[in-house]
Amino acid sequence: MSEILLKLEGVHTHIGQYHILQGVDLEVPKGGLTVLLGRNGAGKTTTLRTIMGMWHASRGKVSFAGDDITAAATPDISCAGIAYVPESMGIFSDLTVRENLYLAARAGEMDTARLEWIFGFFPALKKFWNFPAGNLSGGQKQMVAIARAIVEPRRLLLIDEPTKGLAPAIIQGMITAFRELKETETILLVEQNFNFVCSLGDTVAVMDGGRIVHAGMMADLAADQELQQKLLGLSLHVHQ
């Protein structure tokens, strides 16, 4: 059994009068890719934002590498080694691609070898290096957001719906990138697109109504159409 890097125990989160997370229990093992699946409004994005301290848990505990980060401030959580790629291509559109990545390089300078490694996944970034990120296409903006998260080695990447609104050809490129990324990084990936993640994920958790309703190995879920139907209301065959 691999070491647990991130652990949520009975986490509740309220946003205003709404009780969004209602006792989330989630474990992310060190190394590999964990997928957080669920329909719209299940609480996936809120889970990531609660981990990042953007919304603090009203009850429960969030531990990262053994440290309690439940009440920690977002910058401290980031400095502890968690990178967050928000949904909707969360880039700084007025800044250039270079400046977007430079912001994430807390060491001050970007490692050239690591940059070349990133350009290997996303060649378009090299081409548009000095262009305002706001002028890029949707797929390229998503590449900037992911590249920003990995410009320095992190202990955990939280990635929120990276394929949202992207063309199938770009999604295929993302699959290749994530397959290579998960060899060196620990990733918690939120997705609705089951086809995208079923071949990528090592472990999976399914959310519904603000709770985790299933947790296990992705290979088991991918092989069990009845369970998919029950948890996600879909059949892999229908969506392939």
């Binding site: 990042m52 953007m54 401030a73 977002t74 910058p75 980031s78 400095c79 990178a83 967050y84 928000p86 969360g90 700084f92 559109s93 007025d94 800044l95 400046e99 430079y102 912001l103 994430a104 807390r106 001050g108 920003r148």
Partner: protein, 360 residues
């Protein structure tokens, strides 16, 4: 060298480069290009407002901080030097002491206002700064023994800056090099140095973080940046530069009063200059200040000439009557916002970018 001087932030538009060069050369040679006290006063006011507006843009345009207390810091600078020179007599000692005291007071005030209120929403912060600035203006007029109240204070500046001082015998290009010319070049050189310093700040990694915070503070925090700290630092920097602009204004006018520094009219003028020039572009401060102050000073005279020329046409001569210059200034502002929503600099840069992307 130019890259270092401009911190790599070039105008990125030919029209803008020409415009900026015109302003720079015009201001650099103003004492020899124009004659008369009024014209030189306009040039010096432009220099000082370039600094003041740029320091406001550092807060509003680069960091997204809406503050109405900028004139308060400007006033602190002017009053600091004014009170010191009035109390201690002319000399560089009082200038240095007044400037240092003003900078210290501004720093403490900006720090306190920032740390206590930059956590709240932008609109609440704006309201807090409005209240603090109004309270300070009332305080300045009430403490008449120190500040001179509503009448303000006139004072003597160091000898080299006094109009009776002659730096050399004879004239250069028909202009005697007196204390006013010396003061003008002190203002011009200080303004240029402060502007280049701000250009360096906004183009530094610190400046990029400020822009990131303006665009999305949650994302900036997720990258590990404490946005309150950065906002407070930007607030302090803007306040300190505004204080120095106030010092320059006091030295130029040899007078300090609530109307010239602390009034809400000055604050709205600064806002208009930032919007007209273009927010988030320091060059916008140059263009906005130059156009606005020129219009403020010469539109009335220009309209008088237009009215005279149109004296035979009944409606138009009345429409361009010099008394209506404020109405036309308002119309010009509305038109500039309508046609240049991103400011003149934003529009010129966008045009240049579009042309460069079209060309193969």
């Amino acid at each position: 060298m130019l890259t270092t001087l401009l911190s790599g932030d070039f105008p990125r538009s030919r029209a803008l480069s020409v415009l900026l060069l015109l302003v720079l050369v015009g201001l650099a040679l103003a004492p020899f290009l124009v004659h008369g006290a009024r014209a030189l006063n306009v040039a010096a006011t432009i220099c000082i407002f370039v600094v003041l507006v740029a320091s406001y843009d550092l807060q509003l345009g680069y960091t997204g901080i809406v503050s109405f207390a900028h004139t308060m810091f400007y006033g602190i600078g002017a009053y600091g030097v004014g009170i010191a020179l009035h109390a201690m007599g002319p000399g560089w000692g009082p200038v240095a002491l007044g400037t240092a005291a003003a900078l210290a007071i501004s720093l403490v005030l900006a720090l306190v206002i920032g740390l206590f209120s930059l956590r709240v929403r932008a609109i609440f912060y704006a309201m807090i700064t409005l209240a603090v600035a109004a309270a300070f203006a009332v305080l300045a007029s009430q403490l008449s023994d120190i500040t001179g109240g509503e009448d303000g204070r006139s004072f003597k500046v160091p000898e080299i800056l006094q109009p009776s001082f002659r730096l050399m015998d004879g004239e250069i290009l028909g202009r005697a090099i007196d204390g006013r010319v010396v003061t003008y070049y002190l203002v011009f050189a200080s303004a240029l140095a402060l502007f280049l310093l701000m250009l360096r700040i906004v183009n530094s990694p610190f400046g990029r973080v400020l822009q990131a915070i303006r665009e999305n503070d949650f994302r900036a925090e997720a990258l590990g940046y404490r946005t309150v700290v950065y906002r407070t630092l930007a607030n302090c920097l803007g306040a300190l530069v505004a204080t120095l602009a106030g010092v320059l204004m006091a030295l130029w006018l040899r007078y300090v009063g609530p109307k010239t520094t602390l009034s809400f009219e000055v604050m709205t003028d600064i806002l208009l200059m930032v919007v007209i020039g273009g927010m988030g572009t320091l060059y916008g401060a140059v263009v906005g200040s130059a156009l606005f102050i020129l219009a403020q000073n010469y539109l009335q005279a220009l309209m008088g000439q237009a009215s005279e020329a149109l004296s035979g046409v009944p409606f138009l001569s009345q429409l361009f009557h010099p008394d209506r210059w404020l109405l036309w200034l308002g119309v010009l502002f509305v038109l500039s916002v309508y046609f240049f929503p991103t400011g003149i600099v934003g529009k010129l840069r966008a045009g240049a970018l579009a042309r460069s992307q079209k060309s193969p």
